[in-house]
């Protein structure tokens, strides 16, 4: 934080240097927003807790792009944030959101140092998408983009801190066209002697030969504790190696085949008891895409993920389902902790993980029970089929997909769970109207004795209707419905990610979030949205509802 002054002065000086030089040595970009929220809670019999909230903030993230030479860039994002109601410098915070050095050595080797965004494959390093939306209305995705921005969720990249090299070998006039290399090492956490946490690094490399037949890749990721950075008690390491490929249509006529297979090994070395715990396993995933039939995009794939396959960078959930928002934290005169729901996940202060770790985080079976940790979810096998039809009518795209999965090995019993997911989404653009719709129905079943039986279904529905009222003015609206009923066993994992506590949990809930508002666009990226939300939640223990008014002004520049 102390650098802020120097950055400020630098900024100030750079202003003058801009004027003097033709080459833009310093350029600016950024985002700014004002977010004002007013919320009212309705719950039966509550005379002890606040039921209204009014708050917000304005902030500017000023990105500075500095080019000391033609092949070097320094990028930093400074944040100034002012809380709503903080007058004359009250409740102001400063931050630096990013500092990256990028460049290219001798026009051949690209390097990135500092805050870098990384992604490899769904089985090695992959930031899995949100689980609480199917094909969300604009009014909600507008808000979700804030969460992504704040947590550095860009597509499926992970924001990491370290260094990366990229280069490629080319083989002219050869079937092997080129080989791309990507090597990186990032710092996962620093050593903390007090909590006996050793320094942990995350390294990886990816070699992708591109041939006339298709692309193949060898990928390795390695998350490991460095020895002797503290008085070590326990050292963790995980490595995953995979081989992936996509085969061109020339190979199999009309069919694009793709596959990924690999193997992982996880070690925990206890230096006190001199114990070494190891688990290892493998997975495979194979499938094809074709457009051969009826103008449909068809994708079919099969996968088999071993129960002990671990790749922390790819087995993760964005939302921390265990967090509790501070807004209306306790409700009713019984001081019940308010169950969190889709309103909180979008608007209130719940925590999203912006870093992965070695353990499997708590998941919520009523949002995603089939593949909670993404495509690399361990202990799953099954088939997926996806059908997409574009231009079914003019402007109408329909997508249907179904997944049938099961566990490979039972959890707590020899009986195994089977999962079925039916999902469809629809986008339709007609004149001034834009309709979005998505539904996902998920069923989980396990037979056996009463205590083994699992029968759970959940349904998420997303709907949205946008109407263009004027050139820059839209009416936007949306609804999200989430229902679930049945039972599951919630799992807590030990350090080797084996479930050791199983809590029988019963669900019978329904939550509905609906919203409507007006959106005014300023140019291509800046919007002012005023919206009203009505949210209701009910389960077998408590019912409540929240009404919300929001003004959100987003400037992208």
């Amino acid at each position: 934080m102390k650098h802020l002054l120097s950055i400020g002065i630098f900024l100030f000086c750079s202003y003058f240097s801009i004027a003097q030089e033709r080459l833009k040595k310093v350029e600016f970009y950024g985002k700014a927003r004002t977010n004002l929220l007013h919320q009212n809670l309705n719950v039966e019999v509550d005379t002890t807790n606040p039921n209204k909230a009014n708050y917000g903030h304005s902030l500017i993230d000023l990105g500075i792009l500095i080019r000391p030479s033609n092949s070097t860039e320094i990028i930093t994002d400074l944040r100034i944030r002012n809380e709503h109601g903080g007058f004359f410098g009250g409740a102001v915070t400063f931050g630096v959101r990013r500092l990256t050095l990028k460049g290219i050595i001798d026009d051949k080797i690209r390097y990135n140092i500092g805050d870098i965004d990384l992604k490899i494959t769904p089985y090695t390093l992959h930031n899995n998408s949100y689980q609480t939306e199917v094909n969300e209305a604009t009014i909600f995705s507008n808000q979700r983009s804030l969460i992504s921005y704040e947590n550095y969720f860009k597509e499926n990249y992970w924001r990491q801190q370290g260094a990366q090299l990229e280069f490629a070998l080319v083989y002219p006039n050869s079937k092997l066209q080129e080989i791309d290399f990507n090597i990186f090492t990032t710092r996962h956490n620093t050593a903390v002697a007090a909590s006996s946490t050793p320094e942990r690094l995350f390294s990886g490399f990816s070699v992708v030969p591109k041939t006339l037949l298709g692309n193949f890749g060898i990928h390795t990721v390695y998350l490991y504790d460095l020895k002797n950075t503290i008085n070590d008690i326990q050292l963790f390491s995980n490595r995953a190696h995979t081989l992936s490929g996509t085969l061109n249509k020339e190979f199999f006529k009309n069919y694009n085949f793709f596959f990924e297979t690999g193997y992982s090994k996880t070690k925990i070395e206890d230096l006190i008891s001199n114990d070494l715990n190891e688990i290892e396993d493998y997975f495979w995933n194979i499938g094809f895409k074709t457009q051969k039939f009826w103008g449909l995009d068809i994708q079919l794939n099969a996968l088999n993920n071993g129960a002990y396959y671990r790749a922390p960078g790819a087995q993760n959930i964005r939302l921390n389902y265990l967090t509790q928002s501070g807004v209306f934290n306790l409700i009713s005169n019984d001081q019940v902790q308010r169950p969190m729901g889709i309103l909180d996940y979008l608007y209130n202060d719940v925590n999203y993980f912006n870093q992965f770790d070695e353990s499997l985080d708590a998941y919520n079976p009523i949002f995603n029970n089939t593949m909670p940790y993404g495509q690399a979810t361990p202990n799953r096998k099954g088939l997926s089929l996806q059908l997409t039809k574009k231009q079914l009518l003019e402007g109408l795209t329909l997508n249907l997909n179904g997944h049938m999965f099961s566990e490979i090995i039972g959890v707590g019993t020899e009986e195994i769970k089977t999962f079925k997911v039916y999902q469809s989404s629809l986008n339709y653009k007609y004149n001034r109207f834009t309709i979005k719709f998505g539904v996902k129905h998920e069923k989980t079943k396990r037979d056996g004795a009463n205590f083994e039986k699992i029968d759970l279904w959940s349904r998420q529905i997303d709907g949205g209707l946008d109407i263009k009222l004027m050139n820059d003015l839209d009416f936007i609206s949306g609804i999200k419905i989430h229902e679930a009923s049945g039972n599951e066993l919630l799992l807590d994992y030990d350090i080797l990610n084996n479930p050791f506590i199983m809590t029988p949990t019963f669900y019978n809930m329904k939550q509905v979030l609906s919203a409507f508002g007006l959106r005014l666009s300023f140019g291509s990226h800046s919007t002012l949205t005023t919206s009203y939300n009505i949210y209701s939640y009910e389960d077998s223990n408590i019912d409540y509802s929240i009404n919300q008014f929001q003004i959100l002004y987003k400037l992208n520049f």
């Binding site: 934080m1 002054l5 400020g8 100030f12 202003y15 833009k24 350029e27 600016f28 970009y29 927003r33 004002t34 004002l36 929220l37 007013h38 606040p50 209204k52 909230a53 009014n54 708050y55 903030h57 304005s58 792009l65 033609n70 092949s71 860039e73 990028i75 100034i80 944030r81 002012n82 809380e83 709503h84 109601g85 903080g86 007058f87 004359f88 410098g89 009250g90 409740a91 102001v92 915070t93 400063f94 931050g95 959101r97 051949k108 969460i147 280069f167 070998l169 080319v170 080129e178 080989i179 202060d349 999203y352 004027m470 300023f522 140019g523 800046s526 002012l528 002004y553 400037l555 520049f557």
Partner: protein, 622 residues
Amino acid sequence: MVRVLIIFVTFFLTVFSLKAQEFEINTKPKTFKKLNISGEYRGFFQQRYFHKPYILSTSIDDTLYLPKQSILFGDATQLPELTLNIGATLSNNVAFGTDLTFWNMKQGTFDYFRGVHLGVNLYGSFKTSLGNFSLRTGGIQWLKMSRMTFKAFEGYNRYSLFTRNPWDPLTKDLGERYSQYFDRGAISQDERWGNQAFHGFSMSGLGLPNNFNLMLLYGKAQSSITQFTTVDNTTLQQSQQFFNTQFYSSLIPSYVIGGSLSKNISNHSLALNSMNGLSFNDTIGVESNNYSVNTISFQTYFDNLSVIGEIGYGKYDDLSAGESIAIKFKTDKSLTYLPFDVEYFRVSPNFYNNNSEIINSSINDQDITQVEGQGVLRQNGSAILGVGQLANNRTGLTINTEFQLPLFKINLGQTIAKEIKEGSNQLTYGRTINGVTYSEFYRWQYASNLGPYSRLNKFYRGVYETVNLDKFQLNNNLHFNSIDFQIKHHHKINKHKYYIYYLGNYNSAQQKLSPFIITDESALIRQYSHQLEKYFQYSSKLIFSTYLGYERVVGNYITDTNDETFMPRNQKTRALGLGIDYKLSDKTCLFFRSRYFSFEDTNFILDESEGLETTLEIKVNF
């Protein structure tokens, strides 16, 4: 594994050539070209030496004095050493602005404070077939609507120029400040002047059909108290930046919502204005503390007469609605020989709006000792106010006029007012002379019940005194008389311009109606102040100034009497100042001020002080 790697590498390296990479930064966002940075540097040094140190407090054991000498680097009035205003117009309809401020107390620790002053402002404008709209979010936005809804008091431009305000702008010509005051009757003020600070969302629409204009406000005014936890930037978790509520210690709503719809009809205009404050006194949002003000304001201009006024009603919580009227007639010389400005006003005791020009003197809305930090303390209880200043529970008449003689400009004004219903048994008055000097006795805080007799209260750049009245001797509502008298003179001595300004303020509060200020003992409080200042422009780069101030406050036996002397207030305030304005270079000026100040109350002998205060201010604009 290593062997395989070696084979792999040697095999491939024999035939390879490294691919040429283009320097395209795929994550590079679209950048904008121009960032405007402007700002000012203000170096402020102050030295104060007491001949008679001021008593902060007394108790049986101990008397606590202010130190005999003190030195201050940097201002204690919330204005920083360096202000950078950063802004950019991103496209023809979107812009943002913010500022960064830095200051250092020059304590030898190299510890810089930094902050923002006016916060984060985002702008947008859009055109529709209905008209042009512009909106702002964030804040601080400096805005005004109408006198009774959302505006700060501007008065009749009668003030002393000798003491410089931190925000006083640098003028191109060094003497402009003084010549403007003579020529135009006012000096250039910054954007704050007459406006209220606002945080939140505001929208204005201009050129709407049928000449309508629109303004909407939703957010927080300074009167909307927000409770924050202490923000510590050094331990702030960057990873939790998204948390909307992390800095709030309470989310209980406290906000204002208001708007105005105005219409221009040739020269005249008519507006409907509304301002509503919503907040709660408790922590769970049950006991509301709401007020609502709705008015009609109008301006009509005829050849030699214009009528400007505002009529409305206000409602505070469960109190019955109260009316508020202020109508001003301005006549031209051609009609009345001298131009007159006559205003009738009547503001009900139940009319309440702290965001307006109307000072609250009748509704006990909050404990004044609660106000801390960013809040601004307001006078509470019956107050002796200057000419033209409105307050609730008061009705009266204000007359202003001005005329010119060769080399002289004279203006005067008088307000006669009375309380509508019996007010509190307290009366307040501000100390006119040396007010800023006193307020700097208490830096960084807004505190009340100060001084050896616990009768002084500090607000932003000023102090006011609370007088307790003997309720049993009061038999009528309070009446107030104020007169302002100002003479301005300008001439040259050997091509050197000089300006002499005299400003007299005379106030009295008593129990009967009087056409003129009361000068005898029947006045509860009599307050007379005289300020004489002279500015001598030696060259375009150098101006000498002198200042003389004298203030008398006399109370009668219905007000506090001293336990030892058994006599009421008898105060004398003196000020003598010397100053130099020197232009170091273009956009860089140095201001030197030295002020002798003294205060004595012959009947409350502990309340005394005498000293010399010297300030040096360097100001750079860029």
